[in-house]
Amino acid sequence: MLSLTGPFAADRRPSRATVSLVLTLFVLAASLLSLTSGAAGLGLTDLLAAPFGKGLSARDRVVLYDIRLPRLALGLAVGAALAVCGALLQGLFRNPLADPGIVGVSAGAGLGAVVAIVLGGLLPIGIAGLVGPSLVSLAAGFGGWIATLILYRIATSGRRTDVALMLLAGIALSALAGAATGMLTYIADDRQLRDLTFWSMGSLAGATWTKLAVTLPLIGLALAVAPRLARGLNALALGEAQAAHMGVDVQRVKRLAVLCAAVGTGAAVAVSGGIGFVGLVVPHLLRQAQGPDHRRLIPHAALLGAGLLVLADVVSRTIVAPAELPIGILTALFGAPVFLWMLLHNSLLRGR
């Protein structure tokens, strides 16, 4: 006779604690690597010999505290934000292929950046001086935010948001933003063309503590709210009606997930440009390794996204040193084949 009490026999999947531990170690290792590699020649041994930078030359301290540390912080934050926002949107749309591009954040942010790059010179000197070098970031964040709000408005009638409508409207709005972007690209001069091409390829190079002061709180907010949506997103996997029957305030989950994704991705894209595939691949990889439960998926996506992006950044600034490869090229170069491999692997396992 089967024992009917007690917990289930052990799951085949690794335990939550194991995955958390492995990912934490990974993030620490990637961070250390990021702090100790770069063109300035400040290496691991220097850092170990001088904990917290004590005893370093003034130049090395500047390299550590004002260049590498903010860059590391930005990499961690952007990676975590992109991966968590991907997980949120995939849960919301009940589709593993959803990513921030779908709710129009990317297209809106892209348009914002292009407007700033091409038309930024037309701003009155006073305003231009006020926002200065942050103009592109601010415009990108603003564009992403506006696009999401428009989409949310279109898809919401009464107190119900139609997720499928949001998906379709997102495609239309992205096309519209793409057309406007194309028009501005057409009138741009050579220098502007170069600027916007580089923006679209993504980079963490612009990291300063001043920029981080705006970015970190926004991303932190999104990362703090996201885990609270985990149970609701789990229930949504069974459909909106079933989620409601299980006591989930479905409209609240939808609203918060969209806002969270807009704030998190908007802030990330604003400072780092177009970095693709992190939001798509990281949640997918984790679902394969540990299952789809959002209560683990969201915190672990933050860790894996942060670690992977920092690692990609290290590669991007060492592979063609002393120059730098835009990080978006790297994430696409590795992310796309990994994603394809996962799709094939998955379908082979299932026998179809």
Binding site: D11, G239, Q242, H245, M246, G247, V248
Partner: protein
Amino acid sequence: MLEIRNLSVRLGRRTVLEDVTLGARPGELLAICGANGAGKSTLLKAVLDEVPAQGTIRLNGHQVGQNRPEALAPQRAVLPQDTDVAFSFTLAEVVGMGREAGDFAAQPEVDRLALAAVGLQGREHDDFRTLSGGERQRGHLARALAQVWEPVGPQGPRWLMLDEPVASLDLGHQLKVMQLARSFADAGGGVVAIMHDLNLSAMFADRMALLIDGRLAAIGSPAEVMTGPLLERAYGCTVALDRVPASGPWLLPQNCGGHLD
């Protein structure tokens, strides 16, 4: 107590339910019967506050739609018609979602008991999407059972709302699932089940409600509702009726006049 008074539902210009008044008592299994399009599912949706409705619906004394979802979930669970599950959640994870929505979040052993009750013990780590249609339906039933595991709670009787609970099940599992619903009611809970199978309804239900074109045509014991003229009006076919001494009336469909309408 589930009280429905003067319930009308209009979807677009069509009146789907017209002035329906009925009640379901805890300790009873009420079967809602009727032809396709008679309004059975809409009645359930109105009870679950999923369609705009006129009239009054009260569950355990609370107006439906006034309660917050998380307050209502421990009091009533719902078995949907087949519904797909996104991502590779295991059977145990799906059942656990139901349990955690109710009052049994701290009792993980309920998952195992609920799965055993529907005959899916040993399958807890299977990907829900790889189950057969009938297994998925029983998996969702286990989830609903785990949500209201004890038929009577601190806030009164708990409720099971079942939308065609035996639709895709084999004969043996049809009986098993109906017996589960029966014992939930016998233990003091309330069960409302949308049923197509009139013989199973007659065997297990205390009362049957028959809907015809959005109106309540009859409600009462199976013997009162399972009459030739009523069933012919409801389903457009003639039936041969008989009685089994132990379990009440049963029917054999005879002739639907060669056309469907």
